[in-house]
Amino acid sequence: MSVPAADILATAVPVPAASAGEPGARRRGVLRSAEIVIPGTVLLLLLFFCFIWPLFGMVPKPVGGLLQTTDLPLFSSGHIFGTDIVGNDIMSRILYGGRVSFVVAAAVQVIGLTIGGLLGLVAAYAGGWLEAVLMRVLDVFIAFPSLVLVLAIADGLGPSEIHVIWALSAFSIPAFAQVSRAAALSLRDRPFVVAARLSGTRTWRIMFTHLVPNMLPQLLTFSLLGASITIIIEGALDFLGYGIPPPGASWGNMIASGQSYISVYPMLVVVPSLFLLLTTICLNLLGDGLRSRWGVR
């Protein structure tokens, strides 16, 4: 898990939106440009296979595999990706595991966006001692080795999906708070905000009608990048023994438990890693595409 959560903030350091496109260039439809279409469709496909396909497809259950058919190799009959050491079908574990990984990633980003985003916005807008206090609290979470907190929460509350989500939010809330604070700070002194303040609009209205819409593009691209980081960190948690509890499946815990047999059954690790790699690449590409489209640095 050495992919740094906080430093994606750096690539999202707020710079006033780049000037409009070159004079005379037609504005391309957002969806038509390749940077967004390709990763978008691949992600939709993945989501479809993980969430919808098992409903009507003939995918066996991810647990309770037949003990007689353990450690089948790739492309064996009935099990495209083979079976693991307890006989569960790897294909179904990838699909159900994908569900868990996507749910965790999405939930962590939403929590980070709402709580972290709000904190950052309030800190930037309020300024003064409130900002100092909020930022110090956030510094504590950032200075605190987040892995300790995550391990402790997961270890303390016992591994389960909800606890993992809360544990991983310990990463996302401070990161989002910093991004939103930086973005809000750069917007706060902009003429249109000062004008709104001069015209007597109440602070809350200013925050939500003026600041938030301008910060959203940046926060959304940041959350896409954050989602890919979260999936990787969730995997790291399993790797250290505190992630989603077996026999439940998630890509992270499949990789983690697979590595004990990597020299003998490498596919146990390779297949989920490829899916993980594909998803994170798509998320990053989508993030980049949107970022260049919305002109966010």
Partner: protein, 549 residues
Amino acid sequence: MTPKISFRPNTRKSALRLSSVLVATALAVSLAACGKSNSNSNTGASNAPKHGGSLTVLEGQGFAGNWPGLDPATDTDGAANMSYMDSIYGELFELTAGGKTTGDLATGYSFSDGGKTINITLRQGVKFSDGTPFNADAVVFNWKRDLTATCTCKPTFPPVQNTPPVITATGPYSLSIALKFVDAPFINALQGSVFNWIASPTAINKLGEKQFALTPVGAGPYTVVTDTPDSELVLKANPLYWEKAPDGSKLPYLKNLTFKSVAGDNQALTAMESGSAQAYEGISTPQLVPAFKAKFQVTAEPSTSPYNIQLNTKIPPFNNVKARQAIYYATNAALLDSSLFHDTYPVGQSFTAPAGLFYEQNVPGYITYDLNKAKALVQELGGLSFNLGTISVPTAISMNEAIQTEWQQAGMKVTLQSWDLTGLIGAFTGGKWEAMLQTAGAYDPGTGVGVCFRFCSTSPFTGVWDKKLDGMLLGAAGTTDQATRKSLYDQAAAYIAQNAYGPFLFPIAGYDVAAKGVGAPGLTSPLPVTDVNPEILWQYAYNNNNASA
């Protein structure tokens, strides 16, 4: 003996008894009472050991790979660190190939005062590696110090723990220890405990407790060069070592010996394949054994503690004997053995194992697998749903998953849970657990994580509170007469089966690996297991690949 494997950053075992709980899978070679030479022994390069080689040995991180300190008085991990302690301090009593406890630094022992007092005679003319003499006073000094250590990390030794014995030197090379009650397996239990290692008193007083733990001085075959706790221990041959090789030449064969902690079996495999290590003590992932076997000598450790499923008879659903019988009927140990471990374990019906004492494979009245009867019982009970727990070790977890599948076929609703060591202790002491996959039994059922540990009402980790069973088990440990111990243990096994207190599966133990041209008793040829891991006599270890002489 299997370390907690792979990356679970679990804690260091806190006591000898505990480590057998982590026993994962092994290839039990033969059913003979004491291990004969195993099938894939090192037939090839078993040429005579040469002097002067150097050997790097890997230790699994979850178990032996952690050693905060090597001072007998402050090393709670006694059993886990047996290899290091034996190499530095040697042993009073060691377990030889014949399965007999024989004297090493001690020469013999005898019981007196009805078994309550044990008299020990010591080898003469032995010196510590700092030149000071090894005598009865040194042993008494060490034993007293071990008992009165103030460090929070003081080791525990049950026979003497609650009732401090009287230890007196009865001569320059003889001493006696007076217990409050008769403890027949005392010498067997001594073998795996800190009392078996004697440190040089002068060195302790000179260096002080903290420094001594890092640079210990003993009378063993090696002395410490550098020690990075929990990572790397570099040793070199002790010039003053007393023991001679069978051909009269000086021991130890090796010039230097290094122990390195490794995160898991796979790391060990890659490390050995890349040549940065030549031996690995304790593989616990059976699926990797073929990969190791392809390039190295793999020796199965004799297995002494069978897996068993404990049922908590104090709370529902398993306070009802029918529910317990349903579990017996629904558990197909043979299928588990074949699907997960390719039919390599002798399925047994009692807490004893082929490599241990009093082995009894089939127990009269033991309920065997019958799916229909199991389903009928479950219907009769109106359904059965409970939680099955274990230690978070990959192999234990995958066994639980397989068991869950079997029981679900019988209509039971089973949820799985696993903890790290500290969490497991909390679960047991909390008393709310329903079913647990654990291990029971040891080389001598009376010691270590023996049968009483799992079935006597006095133990915090039992699921059974039955006075009659207590009587049998404590009685068996209370006499020194082997025949009566055997009959009492057989009665206990039958009683457990009759009351369906918890089915037994198969005994498991790890493997030891050594590169070709490397060997040591216990590493490449099996030695019986005391409590948890087999003892390796490092003074006889050799590595002919880089031996000079």
